[in-house]
Each structure stands twice: as C-alpha cells, then as structure tokens.
C-alpha cells in the first residue's frame, strides 16, 4: 500500500484535537493544521511565512520557544509534554501541553520542527477535582467520630479509619487484610459470618450490635451498620461497615437504670419488711419455744428446724434484694432463668398487690430451663416495673396473669413473657406515651415515671421488644426476648462468696 503522506498528514491533523505547526530552521511557519487556524482565527495563507512568535498569542512569548525549536532541529532532541500556561486579561487560565519533534524535509537537506499543542486545562482541572474529592472523602472518613471500615466481599479489611483505631487500639497496618470477624468478640462471630453470607442477597443495610475486642483485651459494645458495595453487574465488591461506640450511651443508660432501680428498691422495701419479718418471727418464736421445751427432744428438734428454716427464708429474700440492688456492668451478661426472674420480681413487689389480688401462672407448656442471655437484675427490674404497674392498675384487687411461652421462628427462638392485669386499661390517647420518660398515670411521688421507658431500653439492649395491648377489661404487656439455647447455665463470676 502506498500512502500519500501529505494527504495522511492533513487527514490526521484535521481529526485530532491538537493544534499543529510546522516551523522551519528560521522559525517561520510552514504549515498550520485546521484546529490551530480555528483557534487562532486565522487562515493558512495568512500565517504561512510568519515567525512562530507572531502567530502565537503574546502570552506564550515568555517561554523560550525559539531556543527550544532551534535546539530540537539542531540536536534532534525531541521535547515531550512541556507545559505552558496562557494567561490573558478577561480569560480564565488555560494550560497547554506541547511537544516538539524534528522533521526531515526534502530528503535530509532541509530540516523543520513539528510543534504539537494540546489544551489540557479541562483535563487538569478534572484530575485536580478528582484529587480534591478524594482528599475530601478521605478527610471525612478520617475525621468522622464513627468507626468506618471497608472490607472485600469475604470480609478482609481494606480500610480502617482513625476512629476505628482510637476505639480498638489497632492501627490500619495491623488490621489490613485481616478478617473483620476476628475483631468481634467470640460469641458473636457466627452472627457476623451469617451477615456476610446474606449481605449480597438483599439491598438492605444490616444493623447489628456486636462487641469488639480491643487491643488491650477489653470489649466495647458497638452498634454496626453494614452496607454492600455493589459492582455494575450487581455483585458485591465489598462491604462498608459503620460502627458507633455505645460505651458513653451505655454509661448514661446504666446511670438512669441504677437510679430507677433505687427508686424501685424504695418502693419494694416496705413489702420486704413484711417478707423478712415473717420468717424472723417464726425463727424467734421457735427459739423461745425451745427454752420452754428443753426436756422434750422431739419438740426441740422441730423448733430447731423452724429456726433454721426461717433464717434461710429471710436470707433468700435478702439475696434477691442484694442481687437486684447491685449495679451490674452492662456487658457482664449471664444466662438468666426467666421463671426465676419472674418469681423473684413477684416476691419483691407482692406488697404492692391490693388484697383480693389473685396471681395466676401460665407456664405449664414450658420446657424446663428457659434462659435468656442478659443481666439478671436489669431483667428483674423490668419485671418488677411491669408487675408493680399491673398491681397498681388493680387497687381493689383483680387478676394478675404471668404467662411465658416460646415462639419459634426459622432462625431463632423467642421467649414471650406476658403480664396481664384485669384493671380498667390505659386511657385512649395515652397508650402511645407510656414508654416516654416521666410519663405516669399515677399521682405518687414514689414513682419516677421512668419505669416503662427504662424497661423499654433494657429490653431493647437485650435484643428484644416490649409491646402493650389494652382495653377496658385489662392491659397486657408482652416482652419478647431471644432465647439462649446453650445447655448448662453459666453463673455470673461476681456473685457473693
């Protein structure tokens, strides 16, 4: 194939967005392409034969272009991608990239230079914008108070921001490439893995609360949101994980809970006096009787049994009081026997029941040993609040029913605790307010109005929920808690010796 090179030059120079000049050894313009002519507003015949400096805008003249062209022609050293800026009054700054190459003319006798100029202003500003956006995003991620972590679809960590470092003590270098699940406390790892398995299947963000094991060994509760990063074909490229440190929030909640517990304690103390004085009375009387029956071994033995039995009963009541009053760290969870919690709560508030109140248990269909994972005295506080509320809704007596049943789902099993009274119900328009702090239906200075709002937050912390149904025939509070299926109950390590 035989090219007509002149025609090839014209075709090429007309189709590329560059401005092209051919300049001879005397710096006179031999040729200009169409793009150059359009931009400079001239015609080929007008520019041919002019000095290159005459055809370029004055703003370019501060570049040693003459010298550069001469050097290229003389030494055949091409110049590549030099930058020149075009500043003119009233025109925004434009930046050009230019290259100069030597051309052989008429069989090596004459030499010339090819000057190719490209306006790269838009390109530059685009990349500057990209860089700025990247910097901005990076600083947003870095200065965020929340933990922002990204992983690949399998969970290997790609980025780890400053907040994540501050909270966990691990820096990016120590976490890069490791699996996110390694940083979650052991018992919840399976849940994290399940999250990763399911994250591609729905568009939805996943929310969870997982404890993170920090570098110095402690665990911190963090509320997490996981969102998939989808590729163009919808496949999951990675996962963005945003976490909020719950320690401060938990401390505040714990303070409110402790205050509410003390308030509840004040309420139950009167009832406790009765509960303790009964066995004390039995013990004391039986001991006095022993002195009168010193010669009667059978009677002595029976009295001794009564003394011991009474002391044990009083001490059991004190045990539940202490367990209830003792502040518990929020992440010290144990397996809590739900029936035991209900019995203990009922005992603590039984003094608030009006005479003529019947208590019925509906737990016959329950398998033995129904455990929830949680903090015993917080769950007790919830039950105390609910049972005390039920008793107070029935000032002239009535029926309290405590029902516990299991609710099986595909993935989990819930414990459903229903506490119902036969009181007059909650007035219309008040139902929506009952979980608000300081809301109360009673004029009683002993009641803080925090009972239900605190109960609500405690149950939420346990991964459950609390709902209410009311009618003029009575009110039922239903507490739903996830069931812990582990076989052997673990006891809290901090129990009294």
């Amino acid at each position: 194939m035989n090219f007509n090179y002149e025609s090839l030059f014209h075709a090429l120079s007309a189709t590329i967005p560059s401005s092209i000049l051919i300049i001879d050894e005397n710096l006179l313009v031999l040729m200009a392409n169409r793009n150059f002519l359009i931009k400079s507003g001239g015609t080929l015949s007008a520019v041919q034969g002019l000095n290159v400096q005459e055809v370029l805008p004055a703003a370019f003249r501060d570049i040693p272009l003459d010298q550069q062209i001469r050097d290229v022609i003389r030494f055949n050293k091409s110049l590549h991608r030099q930058k020149m800026s075009y500043r003119a009054p009233g025109v925004s700054l434009r930046v050009y990239s230019y290259s100069i190459r030597r051309l052989e003319l008429d069989g090596h006798t004459a030499r010339a230079a090819l000057l190719v100029m490209d306006d790269i202003t838009d390109l530059l500003s685009l990349s500057e914008e990209v860089r700025r956006t990247q910097l901005h995003l990076a600083s947003v991620v870095e200065s965020a108070g929340d933990l922002i972590i990204s992983t690949d679809a399998a969970g290997a960590i790609l980025t780890w921001n400053t907040a994540a470092e501050q909270v966990t003590g691990y820096g990016l270098q120590e976490t890069l490439g490791r699996s996110f699940v390694e940083f979650v406390a052991e018992p919840q790892r399976e849940e994290v893995n399940a999250c990763y398995r399911s994250i591609g299947r729905t568009d939805q963000r996943l929310a969870a609360e997982w404890l993170v094991t920090c570098k110095h060994g402690s665990t911190i509760p963090i509320s997490w949101h996981l969102s998939p990063m989808a590729g163009t074909s919808g496949n999951v490229l990675g996962v963005v994980i945003v976490g909020r440190n719950l320690v401060k929030q938990r401390e505040m909640e714990a303070q409110v809970q402790q205050a509410e517990k003390l308030a509840a304690l004040g309420r139950v103390i009167g009832g406790i006096a009765h509960e303790i004085r009964n066995p004390l009375g039995v013990s004391s009387a039986a001991a006095q009787l022993m002195k009168l029956y010193l010669a009667n071994p059978a009677m002595l033995e029976e009295c001794a049994d009564k003394v011991i039995g009474g002391i044990n009963r009083a001490s059991l009541i004190l045990d539940s009081l202490l367990r209830f009053a003792r502040p518990a760290r929020i992440h010290e969870t144990q397996q809590v026997d739900v029936i035991e919690v209900l019995r203990s709560a009922l005992m603590l508030v039984s003094a608030e029941a009006a005479s003529g109140t019947k208590v019925e248990w509906d737990i016959d269909r329950l398998p033995p040993g129904v455990y929830a994972e949680g903090v015993q005295n917080l769950l007790e506080l919830v039950m105390i609040n609910l049972i005390a509320n039920a008793f107070q809704a029935m000032p002239n007596g009535g029926g309290l029913t405590i029902a516990v049943r299991l609710d099986r789902h595909v993935l989990r099993e819930d414990i459903l605790i229903e506490i119902s009274d036969t009181g007059p119900g909650i007035p219309d328009g008040q139902v929506s307010k009952i979980f608000e702090p300081f809301f109360t239906l009673r004029n009683d200075s002993r009641r803080s109005g925090l009972g239900l709002s605190v109960s609500h937050s405690i149950i939420q912390q346990h991964g459950g929920n609390i709902t209410v149904r009311t009618s003029p025939e009575g009110t039922m509070f239903a507490v739903r808690l996830p069931r812990n299926r582990s076989e052997a109950p673990r006891r809290q390590s901090g129990r009294r010796p």
Binding site: G270, G271, A273, H274, E275, I276, R277, N278, P279, L280, G281, V282, S283, S284, A285, A286, Q288, L289, L292, M299, K306, G309, G310, A351, S355, G356
Partner: protein, 127 residues
C-alpha cells in the same frame, strides 16, 4: 357445762404462712387454748359463722383481704370476739393501727417478731 368450757378456750389463728401458724398454735396451746387455723379471710369468716372463738390472732396481710377488714367483718358476726392483729408490715405507732385500736376494731397489736410470753399473756387476758 364441760362443752361450753372447751368452747371458751378456743382460739383462731388466721395467717397464710404455715410456719407462722405452727408457732402461734404451739404458743397458744401453752396458754391452754385449742387452736383452729385459717389461711384466708374467707376461711376465717366461714369458721366464725359456724362456731364462736373468744379470741383470734389475725395477720394484717391475707391473700384475699387485709386483716383490719377481716376484723371488722368478724366482729359484725360475733361482737364478743377479741382480735389481736399481728403484722410484719405495720408497727404499733402506725396511724392505721392507732386508729384501729381506738375504734376497738382490733383489741391488741403485735409486731413480728414477737415474744411468746406476749402471745400467752394476750390469750390468758380473758381467762
């Protein structure tokens, strides 16, 4: 008149705590009383309707009514009855107890824990 003498020496104990009933029964038997035990207010009222008890020891908190209510109802049935209220909840200087004593709704008050001798003395007071 033997039968009537036996009736005079009867005592009623009303308390839902079985252990408490046991010690009261033993103590009252030391005071030569034949003791009948009721665990609820309703049971006690049924017993008082059937026969006469010169003295009753009544717990202030019963599962179906409070002790003061029961005292009022029992005296309505048998005006001659003397009622001693026993409580682990109230103390002798509580307003409701002072008022109940003044109104002769109850005739004595014992706070738990109590002295056996006080029970015996209360039982013998009308011998």
């Amino acid at each position: 008149m033997l039968a009537q003498a036996a009736e005079l020496r009867a005592a009623l104990v009303v308390d839902d705590d079985a252990e408490m009933c046991w010690v009261l029964k033993v103590a009252l038997e030391l005071a030569q009383r034949s003791v009948t035990v009721a665990q609820t207010g309703r049971q006690a009222l049924a017993l008082v309707t059937e026969r006469s008890f010169p003295i009753a020891f009544v717990d202030a908190r019963l599962p179906d009514m409070n002790g003061l209510q029961l005292a009022t109802e029992m005296i309505r049935i048998d005006q001659a009855m003397r009622i001693i209220l026993i409580s682990g909840y109230y103390s002798a200087d509580d307003q409701s107890i002072v008022e109940a004593m003044t109104r002769r709704q109850v005739h004595g008050f014992l706070a738990k824990p109590f002295e056996i001798s006080t029970i015996i003395a209360a039982a013998r007071a009308d011998d």
